[in-house]
Symmetry: C2
Subunit: 138 residues, 2 copies
C-alpha cells in the first residue's frame, strides 16, 4: 500500500500540501465531484489552483473526467482496480436522478459494443441514469 506521497511521485508530479489535501479529499468522497465541490471544501484555496491541480491529476491519470449529462464535468479517483487510464478501458458510471450524485461502478464492466463498418471504436463512455442504492432503499 503506497502512501499518497509515493503515489504522486510515482506519477511524476511534485508533492505539495495542496495536492495531498485534494487527493485525500477525493479518496474520502465516494462519489464523483465537481470542481465547485472541491472549492467549497477548501475555502482558502483559489479555484485556479484547484482547477489546475485536477487538470494535472487528469493528465497523470490519477483522476478521470466524468460527463454524466448534468452539463458539469465531474472527477473521480478510481479505487479498486479501475484502469481508467487505459484508453480502451470500459468506463461505467451511474448517475442518480434523485440525489444527483454520480458514482463509479468499477466492478461492472461494459459489454463489447459493435459499431458499423468503417468506424473504429477507441473508447466507450457509458452513463446509466436512475435511482441509486441509497435513494431506492428509502
Amino acid at each position: 500500500m503506497k502512501t499518497i506521497e509515493e503515489l504522486l511521485e510515482s506519477k511524476g508530479i511534485r508533492v505539495t500540501a495542496m495536492r495531498l489535501l485534494i487527493y485525500k479529499f477525493l479518496t474520502e468522497k465516494q462519489v464523483a465531484v465537481r470542481l465547485s465541490d472541491i472549492e467549497n471544501a477548501f475555502d482558502k484555496a483559489d479555484r485556479t489552483t484547484l482547477y489546475r491541480t485536477i487538470k494535472t491529476f487528469e493528465e497523470k491519470d490519477i483522476v478521470h473526467q466524468i460527463d454524466d449529462g448534468t452539463g458539469i464535468t465531474k472527477y473521480a479517483l478510481c479505487e479498486n482496480g479501475c484502469t481508467c487510464e487505459i484508453e480502451t478501458d470500459l468506463h461505467l458510471h451511474f448517475h442518480c436522478n434523485n440525489c444527483n450524485e454520480t458514482v463509479c461502478l468499477t466492478e461492472h464492466k461494459i459489454p463489447q459494443i459493435k459499431v458499423p463498418d468503417g468506424f473504429v471504436s477507441e473508447n466507450v463512455n457509458l452513463v446509466v441514469k436512475g435511482i441509486c442504492d441509497k435513494c431506492s432503499g428509502q
Copy 2:
C-alpha cells in the same frame, strides 16, 4: 411521407418560417449539431430564437439532446425509426476524435446493462468514441 409542415403540426407546434428553416437544416446535417452551429448557419436570426426553437423541438420529441463528452450539448433529429422520445430507449452515439463530429447510430442498439443491487436503471447514455467511417477511410 409527411411534409415538414405536417410533421410540425402533428407534433402540436405552430409552423413558422424559422422553424421550417431550422428543421430543414437539421435534416440536411448528417451529424449532431451544437447551438452555435445553427447560429452560424443563420446569421440573421437571434440566438435566443434558435435556442428556444430547439427547446421546443426537444419538448415535442422532434430532436433529442446528445451529450458526447465534449461539454457542449448537441442536438439531432433521429431519422429512421429512432424512438429517442421514449425514456427507456437505448441511445447510441458515435463521437469521432478526429473530425469531432457526433452521429446517431440508430440501427445499433445498446445491450442490456446490469447494475448492482439497489440501483434502478431508468435511462442509458452511451457514447462510443473513436474514428468515424469518413476519417478512417482516408
